[in-house]
Assembly symmetry: C3
Homo-oligomer: 205 residues x 3
């Protein structure tokens, strides 16, 4: 088991917790909680695999993640009232997840020999899409359109990855610096409440 | 035409009627009614085929279902005010559809040599996803997250299918017992108003 | 660069503008505006490619459109208060886009050797699905279910395409007459406020 695998597992866990908490907040039943945990965790990778044609999609070929998500969801339900205390570390996990899943997506894009800009887009979709489906299923405007520079951090990380990759940087250094960049951007953004500009249309009277 | 084909057709019809009724309740126009009937009926199989890479997806290769859905939708519109009397048999058809589509999904998973747990998930998605898309397009929280143990019945049926399959039970017996199990679970659940437990998060003040 | 390529570019531009305007109306941030412009423009083609298994999907293999959409979105933001004056030509562009994307979809269906009815459906999905995703992401009931005979024009065009194709009409004539038919239908429908009939269910008291 490599360093990369460990990060992958951490990302899967963090997204599963975030999905389960969302579903409990919306008063979904037991089944709904599992489904939302599941799609939040694997949605991004599934979209990525479908778009590049890597089917059957990866969670169908590697069932470890399914058991992992199930276990994490059960623990989230049991300790649901304790998770408030974990909120800060959860935010960190979620950001780590975003970083890792972005990296995995970018790397899959490179392996599929896609253009750099497409690989960056693939990374961002892998990182963000789980949360988008979660919000659509909960009938909310996807959070990435409303709060924080979530996806922008992922895209910045993807660009960093591609630049370092073109410079033949060793992969482990690429992984670590990309993840760190995404984490740092998101921490700064949240701490200083930075948000992207809005552009409103002036309606004539 | 086998027993299985007949059940498949019954399932397709039931889901088309359920979609058309939904759309008319939401005051969609003629086109909207057709589309909702269509996606409710073929949505599950389409997701299944896309995830396992069986493309072009099945409704593109077998157009019989398209004509069937069109015909059923026209009849649903004509007899829309009589369908109240059919409501009970509709519920039954819908449950039969859920049972059949679950079976088809599980079997496709086995043919694709997926792990048993993945085949069960594939069966549940095939059975339930049509209704999920229908609700997303109607801008509602998908019904499977709000009412009845719909998907849970499908999963229970899928597990039953896999257990019997591992025991080398003849396929026809597997089909019938799985479908019956799903129907019985759903009937009991609706009759006794059983629902899965909710887990609410206690918010600190 | 053929006549067809030019029309394709016009369609892509029109849909990108329409997406960017939608997102600004909903007060999405900079990132949201880009994403909505992007999915409106490439959503239809992506669904088409995924369903027929033409992966990696086309925008991954031809990055010209990505740069085009980005440029158009930036211009839409800068000139957002001038676009009111462009509204009429925008409507025309959007209709041209619908026509072109329908044609591309139908032709892909023929190349994939799908049945005529399936090719028509594929054309309609290619033409309309971008707008559907846009509306789902904005948490609205998709506009095609509420207003104008949008998709119906696309389907009529697709049928016209198939009929002319069976009659061995030269492709350029098919392209032009199909596009013109879709534009004319939509112009007439909007001018005379024609809409498809609604069928409401009478609720018993």
């Amino acid at each position: 088991m490599t360093f990369f695998d460990i990060l992958d597992i951490l990302g899967t866990i963090a997204f599963a917790i975030s999905g389960a908490l969302s579903a409990m907040n919306r008063k979904f039943d037991l089944f709904g909680i599992f489904i939302i945990a599941f799609v939040t965790s694997i949605g991004g990778g599934t979209l990525r695999d479908v778009l590049i044609g890597a089917t059957p999609v990866s969670w169908m070929q590697n069932t470890l993640n399914l058991y992992l998500i199930s276990g994490v969801t059960i623990l989230s339900i049991i300790f649901r009232n304790k998770l408030d205390y974990l909120k800060k570390s959860l935010f960190l996990f979620d950001t780590i997840g975003l970083g890792i899943f972005t990296i995995i997506g970018v790397e899959k894009g490179i392996q599929t020999e896609l253009a750099p800009i497409v690989s960056v887009a693939l990374g961002a979709m892998t990182g963000c899409f789980g949360g988008v489906i979660r919000d659509i299923l909960c009938n909310e405007i996807p959070v990435i359109f409303r709060k924080e520079i979530y996806a922008t951090a992922s895209i910045a990380g993807g660009i960093c990855f591609m630049v370092l990759y073109q410079l033949n940087t060793p992969m482990n250094i690429i992984y670590i610096s990309t993840t760190l960049l995404i984490i740092v951007i998101r921490l700064i953004v949240v701490k200083y409440r930075i948000s992207l500009p809005l552009f409103t249309v002036i309606t004539k009277k």
